[in-house]
Structures are given as C-alpha cells and as structure tokens.
Subunit: 759 residues, 2 copies
C-alpha cells in the first residue's frame, strides 16, 4: 500500500533500514528475466519462455546505527512510529521515536518520493535527531541480488534458478558521494545501471566513507550529535535500463540523472512532485461526502492508478503496476479494459502512451497470429515485453477478447479526448489488424449468422465456449470500429492493404453477430447453452472459495458458475444492446451464479447494480472494489495492489452513481443517482480536452467547466444541454426505480465489505 | 516387431549381442518409476506424479567373441543374417554366418522365447559353430541401468533424472552358473530381482568364469572349437518384482523360477510354448485367401495381441504392451475398447484377468472421483498402477468415456463368454460405480432431456464439448447395464448400497439421453453444434499432419476436423441406434472431415465402410490398421507396436467383412461380405465357451463347431439357425449395396496403404 512509483520506477513501502520486511522490492517498467516454461505434455504454439519482473538493485536502503546498535523496530523501544502516504505531495513520510537497547533515544524522520518530474529518480530525505549525545552512523546503500522471497516458481527448479541472483555484475564505480552499479540479466540480456549520490547536512563534524563492490555499494556517514542536533542525508537514486544500449551509455545516463537530481536539490524535487499532483488532482479528484472510508479509498485508488501509468512511456503496465511481483509483473487485458479508460478521463497522456506501447508490439502480435493459424494480430494474454507467456491456453490463447479490449481502449481514447492523432499514428493499424483477427476467428453459418466458437470470455470458470456474448459483441464493435476508422483515414487504410471488400466483410460479420438469448427464461445466455448447463452446488462449496483451489476446471467449465462479471460486463460496456428489462433480468440471473473469485468483478457488478437501481447493493460492491487493498480483501495485497479493481472502483463511482457515459458518441452523458449514505458526490474528468466538474448534491446534478472559455454539449438524463465556463447547468436528480427486487448472491457471497449494516 | 512377451515379461527384438540397437528394452508388467509432473500453471486436481515403464535388468545379452574379436554385424563380413518370428512356435529364431575382421568364419544360431507356460521365465538357446578352428568366448550377462535412449522427458531435467540410472542396487549374488541381482526404484520403491542360469554344452573342453557386481553379472564360457564343432549355451532368465514383498522373498522367488526352468530344460520350455500356442490358434486363427500380405499381418496382429494379454494377470496392459516405452508404458481406454473384446473372443481368460485388474483399482478410481467432485469411480485416462497420471486434462479428465469403455468390456465379456462369475466377482461393482459417476456427470434440463456437458469424446481434436454422441450413448448403456446387472444380482447390489430409487434414476437418465441430430443436414452432430462449426482448411494443411504438430488445440477444437473415428465409432458400437440411411450419410459426412491422426481410427472406419457396403475402401482401411507396424505407417513402431490397431484390424476383418456381432444379445450374428480380392475368409472365435469356425467362400457362409457335442443358436443375416457339432450350417452370401457413393476423405488423406491399386 505504501509503494511509490511513477510508472517507470517503483519501490515497495519497505522500511528505510530494510528490515523487517515481507519482500523487498524495486521494480523497473519492462525489466524482467526469462525462464523456460516446463510442460509435462506440450502442445503446438505453447509459449516456451516465461518472463518475471525482477527485484532490481535496491536504492531505498538507509541504515542507521545509534552507538553501534542498528535501528530496528523489533528491538529497543519504539516510542512512536507513523507513516503517511501523501496523495497530494506524492511522498511517503515517516516519523519514529526510538530508544536503542542501550537506552539512547533518537527521532527519525524520512521522506521518500519517486519523482514524476524526473522519471529515473528517487529521492529520500533521511534525518536523525539525537535526544541525548549520541554517535550516529548512516549507511546508505545500493544492493543487488537481494534474497528472493518465496516466489511463484511452481516448484520448478529452473524457474527458481533463473530468479535466484538474477543480476550478473558488469561494472561497479564510485561516483561523487555515491556509486553506480551496472548489472545484466543472464537470460533476457537486459542491462541495468543503478546509481546513488548524496547531500549531507549536519551541524557539527561528520565523516564520510565509501565502499563499492560488484553487488553492493555503501556510503557511510558518521557524526556525533548533541541533544537536539540533526544529521540529515538526502539520497538521490537513479536507474537506467535497456535491451540495446551499451554499458557506458547506461552508466552515463544514470550519472546524468543523478547530477540533474542533485543539481535541482531535494526541495525542488518535492515542489515539482507537488506541482505534478496539483495538476492531476485538479482534473481528477473526487469528493464523497457521507462516506469517509470511501472518500479515502477513492483517492488512494486514483493515486495508485496515476502511479501505475504516469510515466510508463511505451512500456507495459502490469496488473500490479510496480508495487509487487504478483502475476510476475505481467500486463493483462484489465489494463486496457479497466485502467486506461480511467486514465483517459483523468490523465489522458498516460493512456496514450500505454496504447502506443501496445501498438509497438504489433509485429509480435502478428507473429503470434501466424503461429495460431489466424490473420491479423493476436495480442498476448499476459506479457511484459509483448510476447505471449501464458502457459494455460484455455484461459489465454482461447480468450481473444483481449484484442477487442485493446481496440476498445483506442476507441474510448478517441471518443473521450477528441484526439484523432493517436488513431493516425498507430490506432488505425491496431484496429485493422485486430479486425482481421476477428474475421479469421469467426465464421458465417449456413443461415448467414456469424459465430465465434471455442473461446473463453472474461468468466474464467466457463471456458472454450461458443458464442460468448461479451466476446461476440466486442468482436462486432472491433470490426465496426475498424471499418469506421478505415473510412476516416482512407489513405492510411489503403497503405495497410485494406480494401473496400475487406471493410464490407467486417461490417457484414459485425451485423450478423450471434447473441445467444434464452427465450424461455428471458435472459441472455452468457454463451451458447449456458443457461441449459447444470447448476453449481453452492451449498456444497460453502467456505471453499476460491473455487479454483477446490474444484477442477473440468467441473467448473461445465456448470452455471461464474467467476467474474462476463455477461454483466457486456451490459456495462454495451448499454445500448440491452433493454432495461433485459438488464434487470440478466443481472438477477447472473448475480445468483457469480462467485466473484476475481478482483475484476465487484466494480462491474457495482455499475450494473447502480444502473438497475439497486443503489445500496452497488454501494456495497463499490466498497469491496475500492477497499481491495486497504482492507486486503483477497489476502494478497502483499503481492502488489490491484490496479484494475482500484480503477474500476472509480468507474463504479463515476459511471455507476454519476451515470457518466458516452453511448458510443462524443457527447458526455450524465444520469446520476446516489445511494442513501452518500450525501454529496463531486467528480472531475477531462472531456475532449475540457476539464469538467460534476457535483451531485441536494437533489441536483450540476455540471460546470472550471477552465476558461470552455463550451461542451452534455446530455443530462435524456436532455441535451450546452455547458460553458460561464454557465454551469443544474438539473434535478431523477430517481432510479429498480424493476426487480434486489438480486441475491450465492450463499455467503454477498459483497465482502459493506457500506452500511444491512437487515 | 520382433519383440517377445507373455503379458508379464517382455523383451524387445534386440540382437543377442546388444548392438547395434535403437533402444534396448526389457519390460515387466506394472514395473515403473515415478517422477514429478511440472506445470507452469498448475490447477486443482492435476496429477502431481507421472509414471514411466522402466527398462529393467537386461537378461537377453549373449556376447560372442571370435578369437577376441566381438561379433558385431557392423564389422567383419556378414555372409547371411535372418531372423524369424514364429507365431506357432512362439519363438524368435536367428541364423547368421559371419566372418570376423581377422577372417574367422562362424555360424550363429539363437532361439529365444518368453515362456507362456512359466511366466517369469525367458529362455535363450545360443549356438556358435566354428567353420575353422577358432577360440570362442561367450559372455552371458545381466546388466542393470543400461544407457537410456532419448526418451520422452519433455526436456524436463527432473524427469530425465528420474529415468537415468533408475535402479538402485540392493544385492548381487552368484547362483549356480549364474547370478541374481536385486534392485529397487528410487521413487516408486518397487523391488526387482533378475536372475540367470545356464546349461552349457560343447564337444570338447570349456571353461566357465563368473563375475557379479551390483549392476551387472557375467558368465563367461571359453572353448576352442574345431571346424564343425558347436558351443551351445542355454540361458534361463527369470524376473520377480513387487511393491510389497521383501528382498529375500523376491530373490528366492527368482531362484526358484530359474531352477524350475532349468529342471524343465530348453526342449520342454519349447514344447510347452508350442502347446500353448496350438491351443490358442485352434480357437483364433484366421485364413485370408487372395491377400497374402493381409494373411501375414492378421497373424502378426493376433500374435501380438496374445503376447500383450496372455499372462498379464491383474496388471495393466499398456498401449504398447511390453514392446516399447511409447506412451510411457501406460494403459488407455483402447485396451478395454479395442483389445479386450478381441481377447474375449479368442482367449477369454486373458480378458477376464485384465478386467480384474481394472476392478482392483476401484479404490483409486473412487478417490479420483472424489477429487473431481463426482460420485462413483473415475478410472484414469492413462496409468500404470491405477492412479491418474495424465497431465493435460482436456484430453483426459474431460474424457470420462473411459469409464463406459471399461463397463462395456465387462458387458462384452459377459455376453460373449456366458461367464456370469466375473460380474459377481467384480463386474457388478464396476458397473455400479461407473453408473454413479455418470449420474453425477449428467443432468436433466428443464424439459427432462439428459445432457452431459463439457466432455471430450474419442476425437481429441474436438474437446470439452456438450453432448458428444459417443459419450452420451456410452453413458446411457453404462447406466442401463448397471441397472440390469443390479437386477440380476439383487443381494450383491444391495451390499453396494444400490436402491431401487437409484436404479430408477439410472434408467431414467439413460432413456432421456440427448443425441444431437442435425435435421437440416440429415446427419448426427458429433456433439452439440459440431455441424455448425467452421470447416477446417484442409488445403492449407496439406502435408502438415499430424495436425497437432502444426496447429494449436485452440484452432483444432473449434473447427469441423476430426482426429479419429468418434461418431463413426458410436455407429460401430451402437449399430441398433442408427438406421442404414443415417449410417450412410453420417459416414459420408465424417469421412470428409477425419484426418486419422490416430492409429485408433482406420480399424473403425474399416468396419463402418464395410457395413455401409464400401467394401474396397474398407479393405484399404483394414490394410492400414493391420500393417501399422509391419509397414511402420506412423513412423513410431520403434516405440512399440500399436496393440489396439492390431486388435482393431482383427475386428475389422471379423466384424467388418465377417459381419460378426451380437446386437446386445447373447446370440452370435453373422452377416458376411467380402471385398473383391479376398476369395476366402476363415475365422475362429469362442462363443459362450464353444469354439466356432466361420468360413466365407464360394458364395457361401458356413458356420461350424469344431468341438464335440456342441450346439449354438446363430443368426445368419436375419435368419435364426442352430448349429451343432454334427451339423454345420451354410447359407448363401448376400450382397451389400451401398446407399451412397464411396465417401471421400480430405485431400491426401485416403487410406495410407491400399489393398489394391485404384483408378
């Protein structure tokens, strides 16, 4: 939770002195080691090599010795200890008062930041104040190849070997008051330079010593402090890494980053950090009156979403961003599906860069499609560098919706920002190549209906299905979007080999897409035959979740049990495809069968419950999504925060209660409704370059444009209005009446945290 | 091809001197080593440990030195060399005339047998005759831990480690003119004793020396032979192995087997072998006039089927029996599906023993069902010891038809032999537990139709399907058979907890089973939606078979491409469920989509083509099935012979051209029709204990009972007759007119060998 990152460099919230710790972590975007994927029975097209984010050279370490006794919260007496993650300052502050085992009291204050302004740089200001006369030693370190915690190696000795001591030393040099260590990964052959430098400030005399070894460097400061005197160390850490640049080039790059940081100085770094965040929050902050827990959680969520994407700059955003090694640091469809739409609305340049990264992997995706015998491009299910690394094909290769999720993220970006440059730059090519993929994945039956067989939708408990509604609708939209984009950019489309015949086929497939519907039950069937499958015995499963830890895929796949929102996600992303009655009945049907064994579900359930008028249940689901890490709901926040759930929580608030949407047009739509406990909701988005502020309070929704000379058409409920900077628009709230009773969940599987006590 | 076995012990056709070789092999039924199965992404219920048949202590070795030069066919001059597998003698004979590099000519004659009478014993008579005065040395050896050939270790170092030097030495002792070596496997903890003893016979003087080491023992005979003199060595080898017995017990057991063999002597071993085979062939031989290639192939097939099962005695029969390490020595559904029905008709006691083995694994199968969340018993997809070891669940755990295949084998045994004792002994329990499995696998929809979803039928290119016709029919028959068996054995059924309510549920499910049929096309759909799936692009796949080596499962599963007979196998095993018109149309439809990437397909296609009147095509398929190893059609006969294809070839001849069947009754049915080239067909079966001889020749079918005082009702075409020993019955042959033109196969995928040239 206390991790700091800027999308480029990330550090876990480890204590300055390194111990005690769950796992030490310093991560660099796109920096990984490879390892062989062992299959007991291999198959054609199985990825041969896996990728794992590496804990790189640790620059966070500042160890303190008080009269030779190491500061360690497990020993001596800890009079007070507080850490504060400041969302506006962009820092992690710490204050402790500690009495050494020998009885020497000191106060320790440290402040850390991972700079948004200088993206290669970490700064740490560390102060120790003596309360009695004390000899104080500070050891500021760089340490490579820290002991690996018990990692997800599946018990495979080769994976463990690949990740044990993953960094081979290349060079180690002292620089100014610090050092630069250069390492290389053995198998992925990535070069890494990590450097540190220091400013030291003390009233009296102090001495400095330096040691540099291949795997570590240490700058030691010794001083004798009188009561009330402070020794202050500012540590600048910088990283550079590359698959192509040379060792001297990287070493120089890091030295330059260090001198640039030291030249700016600590105060300037802090000011720049604050300025960056002021700008962000001005266009993104939410205010949730009446629910202080949610208020804090939403800002925590936005802060981590920003940290995930702010300066990623054409590298993948992992599902845990740079906060832990969960999912090996891989990116999944949840980034395009859940995270980028939020960045698009709040910090669009980050979304654009993440999309540019995807586009930069098109050649790999084309190769993958060829391997699979398909046309176009097939983006990987999980990856760091763009190559497919998923070792279980029924839930990866068989889930091509990832391609449509990417296409949708491009479309959302275009519709919401109004920026058409990204489409010309790379979006068109992505839309065209994914459309080609879909054409080769689907086929027309003898009645002209278009089907996609044997695929897995978002619900990983129902795999290799025919005509998954979500996938089919996504494919159709992808085809339609590619056709429209080709029409908008005819010359570039021709350059990509697109013909009018090809476009006609895309449109024909999209228009003929099959959407299974069970007439008898009056609900959509998540996939063909789903509503005819056997029911899951939820009573027998009581207390045995995650289900995949207690039941084989064989059983899960053949029953009506849903891991995560699938048909319900289709209703969120395709509101125009479902009537209010269908929405109500579908929600009721799938709520009873959804076990929410994925953190990607509650946020979607929250939106649909809100839209269907079940505002209190939506509020509960929103809490579950937003508090996923603050309450460690899945028990694995230690592996990193759940970026997509955090982003989805914001969407749940803004789209669910705020009623924000666009209905596939460029017009902002609002249709808010609040649950009982939330007395006032304010949110801010950027729409087609214009900052927009929406306030829902006192029975009114008020839309205003904080910037100068702005003008924006907005649809509030079903009324088209024009908002200008000078003339905010207010309209009375309309009630949302549910058509059905509040849906029920399988026994014991209601929202895991509740916004308020229930009967 | 030259492998000898008796179901208990098997030796590959390696040269006596061991070299050159593809892979050395001596195998013991049920003797295996375990190894960890490594998964890059594991899942609940995945088997953790694999099993691999081990090449045990080699007792075949007899090395010859001629004046210090080793006899090796790669050196010197090989004047002649012939080996002969004698199906009636049950021996492998070899004759060679060789001139050593130094110019010394010798004649070598050896004869091997793996005794059907003394099942632990191998005998080798080895003679060397000098053509000039020559010093001759024979080294007869036992060698453990021979170098492993490149095995299927999937590149996993742990699997390779488990199979490298798999035998830990326990004791090594000289015994008489020989030795006994005892070893133990490291992980599976199985104990193995291998012993040898010798009779030596020479005109002049000879000397004998013995050496015994932990991993090898050597008996050396030295003699100087005059021209025309012969040194003759008879080697007796015996094996014992156990998971439970002690080392002294095993050592004594082997010593006893050796003394018993030596006491009998070589000639007696040979006579007993001949007697066993005379008895077998009297009830099993086939005569195929007009097609000498097929004539030889059918006897080869029957001989290997007998070698696979004769003395297995409650251990599993592997897919390669004891002839090679293909499929790691595992047993699969093909044994019950294809091999046991043949043994039931020709050597029923072997079938009974194999079924007893299955029944002995019921506890493991019950445990597996519990793991999977199912009732009853779930037999493993592949195993040596009864535990599931398959590492790819969509083609194993998801293919529960193996359970119905086992049940069917029990039913075939009961109907054909008339033996009801096996059902009481263990068959009823198997039927009941598999019926319980099916009940928990299937479910009724809201219209009362019974479905089985998410399973894989025989066609491994179409997996995780709903309502696979083959599986559904097999399940229904399994349920019905269990219900009938419970009614026949009410007390025992009660002892198994069977109630009348449970039986009623079995019958209800069986009667309501869904059988997908495409009304528009007038064909059965192999599974739900199959006939709606996209077509495979066979043109693009030209020359790229096996398809699974060139296309991902993802693509294979979602298309109309069939690896092996599935719906067509359903038509073979359920003739009464399909009209002649359906049979013709279904065959035509599936022939066009079947790539026959499995050796389990041609034999079934042969039967159906014959039944549909496409006799020439059937003849071609029969050749492909029968010559699978003699022509090495799949290029992997080196891994062991294809027992199921060989057994299936016999079935293709007898059921396809002979028209033999029983229609779920106890009455033998005959409806023969021959292809042009076969002028006369004779086959023999045992029916309800009675030897039956059927001759099809000269436009007549003639059924006779060779034994004394026998009487058997037989249905010839649609006429019920009674055959007695005294009164054979002859009837004129009826033509089989095809309803449709000869079906076509995908381009280039017609029968791989052809019985005769085609236009």
């Amino acid at each position: 939770m206390f991790a700091l990152a800027n999308g480029h460099v990330g550090i876990r919230g480890n204590l300055d002195e390194g111990e005690p710790h769950d796992s030490l972590g310093t991560y660099l975007s796109g920096f990984y080691e490879e390892h062989v994927l062992p299959y007991p029975e291999s198959g054609y097209g199985y990825p041969e090599s896996g990728q794992t984010m590496v804990n790189v050279t640790d620059g966070k370490l500042v160890r303190l010795l008080v009269d030779d006794e190491p500061f360690d919260v497990r020993y001596g007496t800890l009079r007070s200890h507080e850490r504060e993650l400041d969302f506006r300052a962009g820092t992690l502050r710490r204050e402790a008062e500690w009495v050494s085992p020998a009885g020497r009291p000191v106060k320790i204050r440290s402040t850390r930041l991972v700079s948004f302004a200088q993206r290669a740089v970490i700064g740490i200001a560390y102060e120790v104040e003596a309360l009695e006369e004390t000899r104080v030693i500070l050891q500021s370190e760089l340490v490579a190849n820290e002991p690996r915690p018990v990692a997800v190696t599946n018990g495979d000795p080769r994976v463990a070997a690949a990740l044990d001591q993953p960094l081979d030393p290349v060079t180690a040099d002292a620089e100014h008051v610090g050092a630069v260590l250069v390492h290389r990964t053995r198998s992925s052959d990535l070069l890494l330079a990590a450097g540190m430098d220091h400013d030291i400030d003390a009233v009296g005399q102090f001495e400095v010593e330096q040691q540099v070894r291949p795997d570590w460097a240490r700058t030691t400061v010794v001083a004798v402090l009188q009561p009330g005197e402070t020794l202050r160390l500012v540590k600048y850490v910088a990283y550079g890494w590359s698959a192509t640049r040379s060792e001297p080039a990287l070493r120089d790059q890091v030295a330059a980053a260090l001198i640039s940081a030291r030249y700016a100085g600590w105060d300037t770094l802090k000011l720049a950090q604050r300025a960056f965040l002021d700008e962000f929050w001005a266009g993104a902050d939410v205010e949730v009156d009446g629910d202080p827990v949610l208020q804090q959680a939403m800002r925590f969520a936005l802060f981590h979403v920003l940290q995930a994407g702010a300066r990623t700059e054409r590298r993948a955003i992992g599902a845990k961003a740079l906060t832990g090694t969960g999912y090996s640091g891989h990116t999944f469809w949840d980034i395009e599906g859940f995270v980028l739409p939020v960045l698009t609305l709040t910090h669009p340049q980050a979304a654009a860069d993440a999309l540019r990264w995807r586009a930069s992997t098109l050649d790999l995706a084309r190769q993958r499609a060829r391997t699979l015998g398909l046309a176009g491009a097939a983006f990987p299910w999980r990856t760091i560098n763009g190559e497919e690394t998923s070792a279980y094909w029924p839930a990866s290769t068989a889930a091509p919706h990832v391609n449509a999720d990417v296409a949708r993220a491009f479309e959302e970006y275009r519709l919401i920002t109004g920026d058409t440059g990204l489409e010309r730059e790379c979006g068109l090519e992505v839309l065209v190549e994914t459309a080609r993929l879909w054409r080769s994945l689907g086929h027309h039956d003898r009645h002209g209906v278009w089907h996609i067989d044997g695929v897995t939708g978002p619900d990983e408990y129902t795999a290799l299905t025919d005509d998954n509604v979500f996938t089919n609708l996504m494919a159709a939209r992808n085809l339609q979007a590619a056709a429209d984009a080709a029409a908008r950019n005819p010359q570039q489309a021709t350059g990509l080999g697109v013909t009018t015949e090809e476009v006609a086929l895309w449109r024909a497939a999209a228009e003929a897409v099959h959407v299974p519907y069970d007439e008898e039950l009056g609900v959509h069937s998540q996939c063909e035959s789903f509503t005819r499958f056997g029911e899951w015995d939820f009573e027998a499963s009581s207390g045995r979740y995650l289900l995949l830890m207690h039941a084989p895929y064989f059983q899960l796949y053949r029953k009506q049990v849903v891991k995560q929102a699938d048909l319900v996600l289709a209703m969120q992303w395709f509101p125009e495809r479902f009537t209010a009655e269908q929405r109500a009945r579908n929600l009721d049907y799938y709520e009873r069968r959804t076990v929410r064994d994925s953190s990607l579900s509650a946020c979607t359930q929250a939106v649909l419950c809100a839209q269907a008028g079940h505002l209190e249940l939506a509020h509960d689901y929103l809490h579950e999504a937003a508090l996923v890490d603050l309450r460690d709901i899945h028990g694995n926040t230690g592996h990193g925060v759940h970026i997509a759930s955090l982003a989805g929580a914001w969407t749940a608030l803004v789209a669910g209660f705020g009623g924000l949407g666009h209905g596939e047009t460029t017009t902002l739509r609002l249709a808010p409704a609040l649950p009982d406990a939330i007395t006032r909701l304010v949110f801010r988005v950027r729409w087609r370059g214009t900052p927009v502020r929406v306030e829902v309070a006192d029975g009114q929704v008020r839309c205003s444009l904080p910037g100068p000379r702005a003008r924006l058409p907005v649809r509030i409920y079903d009324e088209e209005v024009v908002v200008t900077s000078a003339r905010p628009v207010s309209r009375p709230l309309r009630p949302r009446e549910p058509l059905l009773a509040t849906p029920e969940q399988p026994p014991g599987l209601g929202p895991r945290v509740r916004a308020r006590p229930r009967d």
